[in-house]
């Protein structure tokens, strides 16, 4: 019978492959991949024989078809590429190249990704010596058909000429390449969209294990990992389980995406969890359970890989502990070859505290545990029960671990993987591999928690960017950084509690956990506070107006304590940084820092957010509301109180506030209303004005008083947040008391006309002020002083003017401020005989402070111009 022609061969491949793939879910992953490789093998065998029969000259040049890489290992996933080598002895006839193409083109047309090389034996050897990628693919080489002789020769010479002489160098560079690959693809044991092949904990880690075992001991098949003693029986069992899960997921991913796709993108995750038929459990979505399982498997593979490298004596280059000269402080622990060991397994049974002690030593000496010690901690961690882990010396050991910087490796993560951390804090069990299925939380809760602790520790290291200097400085000022580290470790522990706000639930858990560990009540309070409020700063900074003083004051009165604010700030930074790039960037960072500094400023000044101030304001609000009987009015007053500035609430007395609320209710659509009260004993008048605020209002009112020869003795200016200005002027009564009422009426008319633009105040005043000029006593020799202070408040530039009194002074100064583009928010004017101190809290019309030196200079010059010495009076 004549051999089948190319067309028949290709159709057979198409059909069998199609059938296999459409049924892939009925196979175990390993079986499917093996069948898939076999189908391809059959195609190449048939193709090979056809070529032999078609071209007689070819038989003079025997060759071998060799499967490489994943195809060589028979790990042929649905869309995996097909790596091939056509191996010739010495030379390659042109005809052969043509025939090989005939065999490969139909595969490309089918959409298979075929990579092939046609090489002679010597070419293979010299390339393998130069290129590690060629070498690793040859390590997995498998003869498909053709000349077994050439194949055997290649394998033999490869070992003799390339592998044996360079084994150490090759392994070292494999380890290095793995390290680089992990850097690039990230850690699949927690990433949101893990890479099944190239990430840390991915299939490549397993391949690297195989390659190293092949190089070192000539391993033939994966089972040899156990028989040759690279792994224990249990470990090999876990390995096959982890691999078959990952391969299965990979096949599904290939099927869904229709291409070679190794990155588990979001769009496929839910579909995969459906294909795997995972059911919802304990309020966790199927996709969350699926990812949790996958992370667990990949995490296992990642650690097994590290353990393997460690035992084989290879550690990633550049990570060898540098400063590991030291002795263990515990006689039951040993320091051998830069790793820590238990003196004997028996010791652990007698002294379970050694399980914790070994990590304390590891952190102190900056030396990792040996692979065997890690195995023992895994096995024996159950011995560390509540009494052991909560005794004072164990708590102290753990505190030391928390406080020690993360250098070459993270002791806490080691404690987490071995299960010891959950023994120490059982409440953490609920957040291990807890996935939050969204794009915001990049890491499972436990990994995020450890990252947060690490981020806090890194505040102490030399800052990488200038903006981190600030965090470093704040950290250095903390008197008890340990409390911050505990808060970082426990801040999300409430996420394991279903159906409750995680901050509140967490704060409660913190109290139980730390009480068991005998922390002092005030320390427990602090950590519980930090955990409960760990989102306060970031939510306020991003969702409230941070340029509003009120926002900072509210936040400050909640925090109350400077040390707590500092810890909260650092916790917020570390938490956000460890959540992912969507939660932390320069933009959020600067928002948070600006806001925290403003809150700090409020707390340091103490004036408005001290506990007394908070209490006074609270009590005053109560009195104001109680004095209003009408429910309707009380409701209005209540909402109005929310608009009032803290400064006003603190300094105005309750009766006056009630009067002011009444005054405000008369305002309605008018520009302003005022109320004049007479105090006969001091012979002064108090004018309370309630008006719609706009820049320059203050100077206009002052100008109208001056125009009417009403001397201003004292002013308090307040701005409410509903854009209402409340100005309280204390003035001398007009000289002619008989016509006082008429005088007030005229002043009111003036102000009305000024505000409606009918009267030009500066023209009207020019004449008046010229009149005044003659009466000014030039007797004072004191120089006046203008101070512009930008440090007293984060929200306002404070301008203080020390001068002596003369008529129209206030109008002149406030008018100068207005001309400089400044809006007066608060003013305190005090006149003693002829000495005046005027204080203004100002911002520009865009609501910003004025702190550019040239602008400050302009303001000083403009004010100085209107003061008498240099004035043009």
């Amino acid at each position: 019978m004549a051999p089948p022609d190319m067309k028949t061969i290709i159709n057979t491949l198409k059909e069998t492959r199609q059938l296999l793939i459409s049924n892939f879910l009925n196979y175990t992953a390993v079986n499917f991949m093996k069948h898939h490789a076999d189908v391809l093998d059959e195609y190449f065998c048939a193709g090979f024989h056809l070529n032999q029969s078609r071209c007689k000259t070819l038989s003079a040049f025997p060759y071998a078809i060799v499967a490489l890489g994943g195809y060589g290992r028979k790990e042929q996933c649905i869309h995996s590429d097909v790596d091939l080598l056509f191996l010739f002895k010495r030379s390659i006839p042109d005809k052969a190249v043509q025939l090989i193409r005939d065999m490969l083109y139909p595969l490309w047309d089918m959409g298979l990704d075929v990579g092939h090389a046609t090489r002679t034996l010597n070419e293979c050897l010299s390339l393998a010596g130069q290129d590690i990628e060629v070498l690793t693919s040859l390590l997995d080489a498998r003869l498909v058909c053709g000349s077994r002789q050439w194949y055997d020769q290649l394998m033999m010479q490869l070992r003799k000429k390339v592998i044996t002489p360079g084994s150490d160098r090759i392994i070292q560079s494999l380890v290095q390449r793995n390290e680089d690959r992990h850097q690039h693809f990230g850690d699949s044991s927690y990433l949101l969209e893990p890479n099944l092949k190239d990430g840390q904990g991915g299939l490549r880690d397993y391949h690297t294990i195989l390659w190293i075992a092949k190089i070192k001991s000539g391993l033939k098949q994966p089972e040899d990992l156990e028989t040759m003693g690279f792994m224990s029986h249990d470990e090999y069992h876990c390995l096959t389980e982890a691999l078959s899960f990952i391969w299965h997921v990979r096949n599904i991913l290939h099927a869904l995406s229709g291409r070679v796709c190794n990155q588990l993108y979001f769009e496929f995750q839910i579909k995969i969890s459906q294909t795997l038929d995972i059911k919802e459990k304990d309020g966790h979505m199927p996709v969350e359970i699926f990812l949790g399982t996958l992370h667990e498997k990949m995490d296992w593979l990642k650690h097994e890989f590290l353990l393997f490298l460690n035992e084989q004596g290879y550690r990633p280059i550049g990570r060898l502990p540098m400063d590991s000269i030291g002795r263990t402080a515990d006689s039951d622990l040993r320091l051998i070859k830069n790793t820590l060991h238990f003196a004997s397994p028996l010791k652990i049974l007698h002294r379970p505290d050694l399980l914790l002690k070994i990590f304390e030593e590891s952190a102190r000496l900056n030396i990792p545990l040996s692979a065997e010690a890690i195995r023992m901690v895994r096995e024996f961690s159950h011995l560390a029960d509540d009494t052991i882990v909560n005794c004072p010396s164990a708590v102290e050991s753990f505190n030391h671990i928390l406080l020690s910087p993360v250098r070459h490796f993270n002791v806490l993560s080691e404690m987490m993987t071995t299960g010891l951390l959950v023994q120490i804090i059982p409440e953490m069990g609920a957040i291990v591999n807890r996935i939050q299925y969204d794009e915001y939380h990049l890491y499972p809760v436990d990994k995020h928690t450890l990252r947060t602790v690490k981020a806090v520790k890194q505040f102490t290291l030399a800052p990488e960017k200038p903006e981190n200097e600030f965090q470093e400085q704040v950290y250095k000022e903390l008197s008890k950084p340990l409390l911050l580290l505990w808060a970082a470790l426990l801040h999300d522990i409430g996420k394991g509690v279903a159906g409750e706000d995680h901050s509140d639930a967490g704060a409660k858990l913190v109290r139980t956990i730390l009480a068991k560990k005998k922390f002092s009540p005030s320390d427990i309070d602090t950590v519980a506070f930090l955990v409960r409020e760990h989102l306060t700063l970031i939510t306020t900074a991003t969702r409230r107006d941070i340029n509003d003083e009120e926002t900072a004051i509210n936040c400050a009165s909640k925090i109350r304590d400077i040390e707590r604010l500092k810890m909260l700030y650092l916790l917020t930074v570390a938490d956000s940084m460890s959540t992912g790039p969507k939660a932390w960037n320069d933009w959020t960072g600067s928002l948070l820092r600006n806001f925290s500094l403003k809150v700090l400023n409020v707390l340091e000044k103490g004036e408005l957010a001290s506990s007394e101030a908070v209490e006074i304001v609270r009590e005053k609000k109560g009195r104001v509301l109680n004095s209003i009987t009408e429910p309707e009015d009380r409701k209005k007053a209540e909402s109005l109180l929310n608009f009032m500035a803290p400064r006003y609430l603190l300094y105005a007395n309750a009766n006056d506030i009630v009067t002011h609320i009444q005054l405000y209710s008369r305002l309605e659509h008018a520009d302003f209303v005022w109320d004049i009260s007479r105090s006969e004993e001091t012979n002064t008048r108090t004018v309370t004005i309630c008006a719609r605020d706009f820049p320059g209002l203050f100077s206009k009112i002052a100008g109208v008083f001056t125009l009417n020869q009403l001397d201003i003795l004292d002013v308090q200016v307040y701005t409410w947040r509903n854009n209402i200005a409340l100005d309280i002027f204390k003035v001398k009564p007009p000289p002619d008391l008989i016509f006082e009422n008429e005088r007030w009426e005229r002043a009111e008319e003036h102000l009305q006309s000024v505000l409606s633009g009918k009267l030009n105040l500066s023209t009207a005043l020019q004449e008046k002020l010229a009149d005044y000029g003659r009466y000014i006593p030039y007797t004072s020799k004191r120089k006046h002083k203008i101070v512009v202070d930008n440090e007293g408040s984060s929200f306002f530039t404070i301008i203080e003017v020390f001068t002596y009194d003369f008529p129209g002074l206030l109008y002149r100064i406030t008018d100068a401020l207005f001309r400089c583009g400044l809006d007066v928010w608060v003013a305190k004017i005090a006149t003693k005989v002829d000495q005046v101190v005027d204080v203004f809290y100002v911002r520009d019309f865009d609501g910003q402070k004025i702190d550019a030196p040239d602008q400050v200079e302009v303001i000083k010059i403009e004010i100085a111009k209107v003061l008498p010495e240099t004035g043009s009076l």
Binding site: E467, E469, F470, Q473, T542, R543, R544, D545, I546, N547, D548, N585, D586, W587, T588, S590, L591, R593, N594, L597, L600, P695, R721, N722, N723, N790, E791, S794, D823, R843, D844, F845, D846, G847, Q848, K849, D851, A852
Partner: protein, 112 residues
């Protein structure tokens, strides 16, 4: 068609988004931006060290609308982003020549 670019305070984003949804605008591009206007940044002082805040964090919203919608959209953004205080940001309007939906190739009004 017009492109509207509005620079607003970060905490006003939700209000603006909601108000725009109410008048039927659903698509918009939101960017976290930093910038300064008349003011050349300011200083924060902490323990004697100065931290220059060159740029102030703001949110930029970009929307493409039909020309006849423009007044309504502008008024909505203005109202929603106003805090009653100064420094509430700015809105820019520019003409847009063409809009094309990549998937279908639709143009103009249909592609918005």
């Amino acid at each position: 068609m017009k492109k509207i670019e509005a620079i607003i305070k970060p905490f006003k984003l939700d209000d603006v988004k909601e108000a725009l949804n109410e008048i039927g605008i659903q698509g918009m591009t939101i960017t976290e931006v930093k910038g300064y206007g008349r003011q050349k940044g300011h200083k924060e002082i902490y323990r004697g060290a100065e931290y220059i805040v060159d740029f102030i964090p703001k949110i930029k919203i970009e929307i493409i609308v039909e020309s006849e919608m423009i007044d309504r959209v502008l008024e909505t953004i203005r109202k929603a982003s106003k805090t009653g205080k100064l420094g509430d940001g700015k809105i820019f309007v520019t003409p847009v020549e063409e809009v094309i939906r990549v998937r279908t190739g639709e143009k103009g009004k249909d592609a918005i």
